[in-house]
């Protein structure tokens, strides 16, 4: 007994010791944890302690979490809960390997390309996104009222100059009056002039107030102030305010060397990262506009620095990526200004002073625009207007000087750049290239009417040989890449410059040929061009330097080869290859067999399934029963047959027996008869 008691005591003591030890350990742990916790939450100040100063030191942790043992477990529980809810407590994806990263990048690019292709085709960006929003399909019950209003084909065409059509129907007569007022100047065909009276935007009423602000100077910020280039320190400050206007940017850049410009912009963007302050978002959005302004400002200067423009372009791109809509609005507002300038310039397209062909700032803007936005889209809120504007520049402006040719050629190359993926056809560019070709080099054509093809060459007859290369002087020169900004500033052009531009025209024509060779009408388009090139070739033979001559020959060869292939591949149009269209029927569907069409179509799929199963079950049951009945009937038949046979046998046996008996009976009766007869005889 005593032993038992001793053991029990020992156990109890051991338990007590254990508990004490545990308690100690836990206490220690608690203590440790507190310090850990201090570290943990110091890194995530927004979780517990909102003050903005990062609290790496213990005191803040001590403040938030008491070092003493938590008075109650409630605190502890709350804390554990908090810990469990912490974002960092969640398991994370494992770090990806390089291959995986590469693959992901590739997939992202492919997806982007797929989306781009869809946009290029003019389809919606993704189907699931827009599904259900589209037009309802025409149903049988629809009335025919909307028959002619097939808006799909007119999509995006706009209303045109749609004047209110409340005049009476004597259109012809009204037309006649119009023309009387229009006057006879038929040659200077300019659309803008025509639209001028009709459209509010171009109306003469705005003219006055627009006159000051609407000029090109407004596009490129004013350069009026004298640049203070006194000292340019090598040191640049580390912090900058975020400029909200272009003037502020100029103040910041004052005294800073151009070479530091990329650093400055970099720093501005870092200092105003959107995660640092809620206001930074708007600041950075404004920065896009400021940067664009600066690009225009730089471009309108004497010799624009390519680095600065490139820096601006790349920053514009990345900022646009983050804020596409504000950026798009900036771009469109700039385009609007350009459009207004053009409209004004086109009132007098032949006047030397009017601004029709774009200058350096406009071209730089279009260049940045093309590098930023997806130019291959069929419809794009920024690129589409830009293209129309460029089309108007090329199509409506009149060439007056060499500068115009430079500007127009650059526009053509911009257009080629825009369409490099989508390969869309730009008639204006081809027209311009042909015209500048004819303006630059002597050809065999005395006037525009004699030029093959149907190119409008409004300036060919006017300028004649004013801009022409003099073959005698260029004999020894070789073409180089033309320098766009220098040429735009120039007033007098050397023969070398003209030669450069001629070679550029040739290159662009070749480029276009390559790009447009899939067009159906490629032959019709390039055949006259080839004729023109041939005429130039024969006209300038042995008068140009070898390099130039070989370039010309190369282009001619290339184009004639492409034309040959196109001729071989030519097929007549085959556009109406549709399935025959079924004649639409408006008779309701009618089931001859069961009139329970609607009843049998339960919209609830589950119930319908159940009903179907039940029906199947019933059918099966019926079948089985029928089988059984058939069997039974057969069995019964067999049994009956057997019975009948049995009965027959029995009947036969009975008949036989009866027959035997009857014959016996007959004999017996015969005997009795004999006996009676004998008796009678005896009795007698």
């Amino acid at each position: 007994m005593a032993e038992v008691i001793a053991k029990s005591k020992e156990h109890k003591y051991a338990r007590q010791m254990q508990r004490e030890q545990d308690e100690n350990t836990r206490h220690l742990l608690d203590e440790d944890f507190d310090s850990i916790r201090g570290i943990l939450f110091s890194q995530a100040p927004d979780r517990i302690s909102p003050p903005p100063i990062p609290s790496t030191t213990a005191p803040s942790a001590l403040n938030s979490v008491p070092v003493q043992k938590p008075a109650t477990d409630k605190d502890y529980d709350a804390f554990v809960h908090e810990l469990a809810m912490d974002r960092r407590a969640q398991p994370k994806d494992r770090t990806k390997t390089e291959e995986e990263l590469a693959l992901e990048e590739k997939e992202a690019l492919e997806l982007a390309e797929k989306k781009r292709l869809r946009r290029m085709m003019g389809m919606r960006e993704s189907d699931d996104e827009d599904e259900g929003r589209g037009k309802r399909k025409r149903g049988g019950d629809d009335l025919d009222d909307d028959f002619l209003l097939d808006e799909d084909t007119l999509e995006g065409l706009g209303a045109g100059l749609a004047q209110p059509k409340d005049e009476d129907n004597d259109d012809d007569e009204d037309e006649e009056v119009d023309s009387g007022e229009d006057g006879p100047d038929s040659e200077s065909g300019s659309d803008e002039e025509e639209s001028e009276g009709d459209e509010e935007d171009y109306g003469p009423s705005d003219e006055g107030e627009e006159a000051e602000e609407g000029s090109v100077e407004a596009l490129a910020p004013t350069q009026a102030k004298i640049k203070v280039k006194t000292k340019r320190s090598k040191e640049i400050p580390f912090t900058f305010p975020c400029p909200t206007t272009h003037d502020e940017l100029l103040q910041i850049l004052d005294g800073i060397d151009d070479s530091h410009f990329p650093t400055v912009i970099e720093r501005i963007r870092k200092l105003h990262h959107p995660s640092l302050h809620p206001d930074n978002k708007t600041k950075l959005q404004a920065l896009i506009g400021v940067l664009l302004d600066h690009a225009l400002y730089v471009a309108s200067g004497d010799s624009p620095s390519a680095t600065i423009l490139d820096t601006i372009a790349s920053h514009t791109y990345s900022l646009t990526k983050t804020y596409p809509i504000p950026s798009a609005e900036f771009f469109v507002s700039k385009l609007n200004l350009m459009q207004k300038n053009l409209t004004r310039g086109l009132q007098n397209p032949l006047d030397e002073a009017s601004k029709t062909f774009p200058g350096a700032p406009e071209l730089v803007l279009l260049r940045i625009l093309g590098a930023t936005w997806s130019t291959s889209d069929m419809k794009h809120p920024v690129v589409s207007p830009a293209k129309y504007l460029m089309g108007a520049y090329l199509g409506l402006s009149r060439v007056r000087s060499m500068t115009d040719v430079v500007s127009g050629l650059y526009l053509c190359s911009l257009f080629m750049h825009y369409e490099q993926l989508s390969k869309r056809y730009v008639p204006e560019a081809i027209n311009f290239l042909v015209q500048s070709l004819l303006l630059l080099v002597p050809s065999a054509y005395p006037n525009a009417r004699k030029v093959p093809g149907y190119f409008p060459l409004p300036d060919f007859d006017l300028l004649e040989s004013k801009l022409r290369i003099k073959p005698k002087k260029v004999g020894s020169l070789t073409p180089r890449a033309p320098k766009i900004f220098e040429l735009l500033d120039q007033v007098t052009f050397s023969e070398q410059d003209k030669l450069d531009l001629f070679s550029m025209t040739l290159e662009l024509l070749k480029w276009c040929a390559e790009m447009y060779k899939p067009l159906d009408g490629f032959i019709e388009l390039y055949d006259p061009i080839l004729q023109i090139l041939h005429s130039i070739q024969s006209n300038c033979r042995s008068r140009l330097s070898d390099t130039t001559q070989s370039r010309l020959d190369a282009v001619v060869d290339h184009v004639s080869r492409l034309l040959k292939f196109a001729r071989q591949a030519r097929r007549p149009l085959f556009l109406q290859d549709h399935k025959p269209i079924p004649i639409a029927t408006y008779i309701p569907k009618f089931d001859a067999h069961s009139s329970s069409y609607i009843r049998n179509h339960d919209p609830d799929a589950e119930r319908a399934q159940l009903a179907k199963l039940k029906a199947q079950h019933r059918k099966e049951k019926k079948g089985a029963m029928r089988e059984l009945r058939k069997d039974n009937r057969f069995l019964a038949g067999v049994q009956q047959e057997r019975q009948e046979k049995k009965d027959q046998e029995y009947k036969a046996r009975m008949a036989k027996a009866f027959a035997g008996l009857e014959s016996e009976r007959a004999e017996q009766r015969k005997e009795e008869k004999e006996k009676r007869r004998a008796k009678r005889r005896a009795g007698k």
């Binding site: 809120p381 080629m416 869309r424 027209n431 149907y454 409008p456 766009i484 009408g521 019709e524 085959f574």
Partner: protein, 564 residues
Amino acid sequence: MSRPTKKRKIQDSNAERTNNIQEIENSLQAAVSQGSSLNRLSDLLEIAEKNGEDPKVLHKALYALYRTFSLLISKNWFHSPQAPSEKAQIVRQWLFKRLDQYLGILFALLDHSEPLILDAAWQIPLSLLKQLSSSLSAATGRPQIHYRIFRQIVPAYITSDTALVRLKKLTNEYDDIRWFILREIPSLLSAHSSVPDNNVTEHVLELLENIDSMPSQKDDINEFYITELSKPPAGVKFNQKAQENSEDSDDDDDWSKFFDTQPAEETASAPERDGRASEFSTHKALFYVQSHRAQFSAAWLALMQHIKTSPERSNRVLSILHRSIMPHLTQPLQLVDWIGACVDFDGATALLAFNALFVLIQKHNLDYPDFYTRLYALLDANILHVRYRARFFRLLEVFLSSTHLPATLLASFLKRLARLSLSAPPPAIIMIIPFTYNILKRHPSLMPMIHRDFDPTIETDPFLAEEPSPLRTNAISSSLWELNSHRSHYAAPVSTLTQIFSEAFTKPSYMQEDFLDHTYGTLYTSETKRKITKEPALNIVASSNLFGPPEELSVSTDPCGLWA
């Protein structure tokens, strides 16, 4: 002190001269009433002639003369019912000479800077004309205009810029003045045709353009400047009735026959006439609409001979031709020579001429065999780039709308338009596409132009682009490749619109009118005016080195890399 004296001197001399004029006038008036010598008239005329630089004196002198002449007219010095004696005849001749001299002075003042003098120069001759006409009518017993004066007035007024403005108003106001002026125009034009560089043609054109009061029925002839003419002659009353009846049935035939010959004779003989020969018939003619029309036609036809070589003037006429000229011509077909000449011009003039020609063909049975060949020639490189292209398409639609036109002809037009579209601006292509669709829809025999099986035996395009006749271009055996190229046009509306050729032709037709009024400007604004809601797409990768020197790599992908 010298200045005031000088001034006074001038004033003195002024006062002296005005007094002098007053005195002469008084003596003349006395002479008229007493029948004594009128020689002082020459003095007065001399004063008027010599004081051109002093408006006050001049004004005074002019009106003094006017009053004197008025008095002379009212006293029957110029015309009297009874035959004049020999002496009176001499006096009359002398007076007419003075009158001519007076008018000459007045006409020379027509462009004077002083408005009062101007008024005088304008009003006095007309007023004298009125008085002389009255006097002449009274003298002869027949209402008539004083033709002698009138023939002096008209050329003077027409050659003067200021008077022309008033003359236009007068012409529209009074039926008789218009009639006489119209009759005067052919001779006026032929008289001035030999003198180069005169403004007569221009002014006559301006005057004729401005006539908008041509009578269309009898009741419209109701305003007369010469009051004597306003009373219809005796014969007319009856004729009027008869004519009104016939007018309803066959207005043109009946009257054109009558006036085709007679007014022509009249105008032809007008220069030689002394103004008295057939005044009665003139008076009668004034009351017939047809005679007004005949004068109008003659005037226009004469003018057209003179503007044949000027596209600018022809343009002006053509643009009002079928609205305000053709309805008043006796025989619109007479215009055909002139219109035919206009068709040979370029651009807008030719287009307008086509319009007129078409009206003639349509309404007046003109036979013009080359119409469509000429029209086909009009489709040149510029037609889609000029301002009036929408107008051209409106007309082209009318010209080609007949379902009886041969398919080969229409095919040529479609093919040519397609060719032109290759270098056309987007708004023009937007016009061409529905236009082509409508024609294809109307003429299913043209469908092979967009849908044809490949035939390996045909190697080259059978279309003959240089062939001038639209009936021989073989366009119907070709395909509209050019038009289908716009499937990949840079302007989204154009490329979507081109799709209609590859879709089923279920739409009956497109409203051409909806597609005519587009320009670069409207296309641009329709793109920019809608608000950007969806995030626009960016380039997939940022491009670097946009403005730097060309690298070998960038040259292959970016045409702008060709520039340095």
